[in-house]
Amino acid sequence: MRVAVVTFPGSNCDYDCYKAAQDVLQADSYYVWHREHDLGAAGAPDLVILPGGFSYGDYLRAGAIARFSPIMREVMDFAAAGGLVLGICNGFQVLCEAGLLPGALVRNASLQFRGEGVYMRVENATTAFTSAYAPRQVLRVPIAHGEGNYVADEATLARLEDEGRVVFRYVDAAGEASAEGNPNGSMRNIAGIMNEQGNVLGLMPHPERAIEQLLGSTDGRGVFESIAASLAGVR
């Protein structure tokens, strides 16, 4: 399996994603610099990860400049052809800015950066990114963002819900989607969504930081394992 991790100027979770793909998936992971015009010399990868960080310093708006990077054209073509794209944190913001996912991520309701462990619930365990989880499984994963407050208009939200595209929702320790469990004010406690075709997932929490017990949680492994299963065609 080949995994392309896109590095924008200011990406800072590219290394973590690179290692996660290598360690969990035993994948051949490699970096793709944002100025490149293809996603890998050896042809299309099996998975593209847009990692977290502060592409272009989050200047203007998080993700707003990165979406104009040359590589994004390739990412959009790759996604249109059905390739799996995983956007984490800043990567999620870039996907929204690029129009690959609906809605937007605005400043946290607290107006403060939040770096801490949160709980999120698997709302749809039948996707290419979540099949390894049980339905409504509650996961412990870190967040680290200042602009993770998901907003969309009512019609979009209703569609996302109806089509099972709200993939992850913030919950409290008891597994309830309460205000207390919502770290950033996201509408309907939304932590992660996917596109209509189900091949593009964006989420604010960091599954790549939750793959080793030594570091506190292995709950993020399922995202990578699901991707592997999906690619192997054994969903």
Binding site: N12, C13, G53, D58, G115
Partner: protein, 774 residues
């Protein structure tokens, strides 16, 4: 020192102000120092030269009042690869790996512009680490503020925390620990000390030297503007009611550029195209270029018109002294300039050749063909006069120290120790600091084993079984009452914190925050504290490998508490054997290591309950500290403990409470019975040193006690861990029992700082104005 005829070439530029005694004074130079400059040059300095001397001979760059004292610190050990004098200290940790680390203050900038002041403090210390060739892997922060009841203080606190967070978060370096104290002594003089740790392969270390005559000198990174001119000089005077006028001297940070510069610098260092690299930090191009030349004994010749600038009309004086952020000075290998530029371009940064390394030992700056500065380089950097001042203890701390806090106890101990405990847990000095560190990314780079909130932060080192741990510590109140003991305690507590997570203490970086050293009472504090630190570092085998001095932390209300912050790094041979502070299982035995001596001097209890600062700082027995550290390390290695926690501010009762409520989802009850023949308050809340509270399964208890005996560490089983959400009960012979629901204690402890900060919203309009000073 004789003047060389070659130095006579420098001429004033048209439009330069005339060098008058007033102008010299404005540059912070004494008559004596100016006399020395005349002697070095054999003529009147040009305006550019005057600015250069002013910056390099400031306390911040020249350490003129602290250097003789700093010489007393131990700096050597077999594992020390680089001691003080470089951008950062470096220790060998085996497996071909080395750790570079340093702490640095940004106090004055943070006092007038908290957000940018703190942000650029983090930026500067990161650059100090990656210019050694080390990739930054962690940041820690040590903070001091006045009382949170003041709107101005809340504004400063919120701004500093946001500044530290935004910068480190954006660059992507995890914050793994810190400390914060609140005391009126810091009102108007907040302290921001930032520490950075980097990891480097032993054979990829690089030093900041300007080697090789004929090699090109290149400016790399951001362009130079007019921000921060004379920041180093600003940092070397007292704050006053006019300090807010210095806001333009505070630099503005751009963490995005820093991230690019970090990646570009590491790539440059590995590329073999460069000889040396140094941050343009305090005193900017002036200090970086002169220091690099001085280290290698070469000269430099710089054409200031080649420097990339972001505004027009800048004079050589301004360009030399600008402290614009995110810039590096690089000495490249001759003929490799284009390779350097190519690497910088990839990272969307600029590089320009601005000069050349020479063999004449002169520091020469030209503006095109006109020489505006020509100074013998060596005296410029090392000739800064140093002073051994007179130290004399002030009357006030001596009087306070002589007071016996036990005299309060003769009036009877606390009638309601449960309420006292709750008040202590709600004191911002003891309360949960999550309000601070939840604004920091502590898990980026996926190495963080223990995030902030424990005794020390712990990182694993990929590709090895090892880990490193780090902490920052200092109790300024102890240092005020007894600076020697306070200095020793800062070191001992840092070492104990590391041992409590299972790490062997290895080396220190120190940040000496003091008032005006020209005042005998301040110089006394500085000298005594350094003596205390030196003694403790010697005894605990933790040499000082880097550090920073921040003096003149005074305003018209007086000086800060002497605050020598100790940053310490330790090594875990097997990171899976780390320990945590939280109790684990109901029924586990709770053991006190060390002895309760009931010392109340300088305690949080006296301050919070009686409103008093007094008594002597707790006694320190360095042999006992050493034995405790060895004992903890053995217990960690044998995996005998479920938890270990240093006993510090708030004493034994607070220590037990912190271990009980460490897991907010599953706080555990406690049943403790203390046998000591001590009055209630000193026993429960006294801050005797050399103690730790550990817990273990009942089956391990005998082995734990036996290990303690072998190390000569007093140890006693004092109770058991209770049920989840149970009662927290501590009984003693001489006081009523502490008896509270552990969940309620957690509520008080975890909400204290957020509650105080929530008030700031209503008061933010007044908070933006500086407090009027008398």
């Amino acid at each position: 020192m004789t003047h060389s005829p070659a130095t006579s070439k420098a001429r004033p530029r048209p439009g330069d102000p005339e060098i008058t005694p007033e102008l010299v004074q404005l540059h912070g130079l004494s008559d004596e120092e100016y006399g020395q400059i005349l002697e070095i040059l054999g003529r009147t300095p040009t305006y550019t030269e005057l600015g250069l001397f002013s910056a390099l001979w400031s306390e911040h760059c020249g350490y003129k009042n602290s250097k003789p004292l700093l010489k007393k610190l131990p700096t050597k050990a077999p594992w020390v690869l680089q001691g003080p004098g470089e951008n950062a200290g470096v220790i060998d940790i085996g497996d071909g790996l080395a750790i570079a680390f340093k702490i640095e203050s940004h106090n004055h900038p943070s006092a007038v512009e908290p957000y940018q002041g703190a942000a650029t403090g983090v930026g500067g210390i990161l650059r100090d680490v990656f210019t050694m060739g080390a990739r930054p892997i962690a940041v820690l922060d040590s903070l001091r503020f006045g009382s949170l009841t003041s709107p101005r203080v809340r504004y400063l606190f919120a701004g500093v925390v946001k500044g530290v967070g935004d910068y480190g978060n954006c660059v992507g370096i995890p914050n793994i620990g810190g400390e914060a104290y609140f005391d009126d002594a810091y009102e108007g003089n907040p302290l921001l000390n930032a520490m950075a740790i980097g990891l480097v392969k032993r054979d990829e270390l690089i030093r900041a030297e300007a080697e090789g005559v004929g090699n090109p000198i290149m400016a790399v990174g951001a362009r130079t503007g007019r921000d921060g001119i004379h920041g180093a000089t600003f940092a070397s005077v007292e704050l006053s009611e006019k300090s807010h006028e210095r806001r333009p001297q505070v630099q503005v940070g751009d963490p995005f550029t820093e991230k690019l510069l970090l990646e570009a610098s590491l790539e440059l260092i590995r590329s073999g195209h460069i000889e040396g690299i140094q941050d343009m930090g305090a005193a900017g191009l002036a200090s970086s270029s002169t220091e690099m030349a001085a280290r290698s004994g070469t000269g430099v010749d710089i054409d200031i018109t080649k420097m990339p600038v972001r505004e027009t009309g800048m004079t050589p004086y301004e360009i030399l002294l600008s402290e614009s952020q995110e810039r590096m000075l690089v000495v490249a290998r001759k003929g490799h300039e284009d390779d350097v530029i190519a690497i910088l371009r990839k990272w969307e940064l600029e590089a320009a050749t601005i000069g050349v390394v020479t063999d004449d030992g002169l520091y020469r700056v030209r503006e095109g063909d006109a020489v505006v500065c020509e100074v013998p380089g060596y005296p410029l950097v090392t000739g800064c006069p140093t002073y051994v001042r007179e130290g004399r203890e002030a009357e006030e701390p001596r009087r306070l120290r002589a007071w016996d806090p036990m005299s309060l106890e003769s009036e009877g101990g606390p009638a309601h120790p449960t309420r006292v405990l709750a008040r202590l847990l709600g004191s911002p000095n003891i309360a949960s600091k999550a309000w601070i560190y939840r604004q920091y990314d502590s898990t980026v780079r996926t190495n963080t084993v223990e995030a902030p909130g424990g005794d020390a932060g712990v990182l694993r080192l990929r590709g090895t079984r090892k880990g490193i741990a780090a902490t920052v510590d200092c109790n300024g109140r102890y240092c005020y009452l007894n600076p020697r003991r306070g200095g020793m305690i800062a070191v001992a507590e840092a070492a104990r914190n590391l041992a409590c997570v299972g790490a062997r203490p290895r080396a220190v970086t120190d940040n000496l925050n003091f008032g005006n050293p020209l005042k005998p009472e301040v110089y006394f504090q500085l000298s005594e504290a350094v003596d205390g630190i030196a003694e403790a570092c010697r005894r605990l085998d933790t040499p000082v490998v880097s550090g920073n001095v921040s003096l003149y932390n005074e305003n018209p209300q007086g000086a800060i508490y002497p605050t020598p912050v100790i940053g310490m790094v330790g090594v875990l041979e097997d990171v899976s054997r780390r320990m945590v502070l939280g109790f684990r299982e109901p029924g586990d035995a709770i053991v006190l290591l060390g002895r309760n001596t009931g010392e109340l001097g300088g305690s949080e209890y006296l301050k919070v309950v009686h409103g008093r600062v007094g008594g002597d700082a707790p006694a320190v027995d360095l042999d006992a500290e050493r034995a405790l550290i060895e004992c903890l390390l053995e217990l960690a290695d044998a995996r005998l403990l479920a938890s270990a926690h240093d006993c510090a501010e708030g004493g034994l009762a607070v220590c037990l409470a912190e271990s009980a409520m460490a897991d907010p989802l599953r706080p555990l009850g406690v049943a403790v019975e203390l046998e000591d023949a001590l009055p209630g308050a000193p026993l429960l809340f006294g801050e005797a040193q050399g103690r730790a509270v550990v817990s273990c399964g009942p089956a391990e208890l005998e082995r734990v006690l036996e290990a303690a005996r072998r190390h000569g560490v007093p140890a006693a089983r004092i109770g058991s861990v209770g049920e989840p959400d149970g009662r927290f009960v501590v009984r003693s012979r001489s006081a009523a029992a502490i008896d509270a629901a552990v969940g309620e204690l957690h509520e008080v402890w975890s909400t204290a700082i957020p509650r105080m900060m929530d008030r700031s919203a209503a008061a933010s309009d007044v908070a933006l104005e500086p407090t009027p000073t008398a």
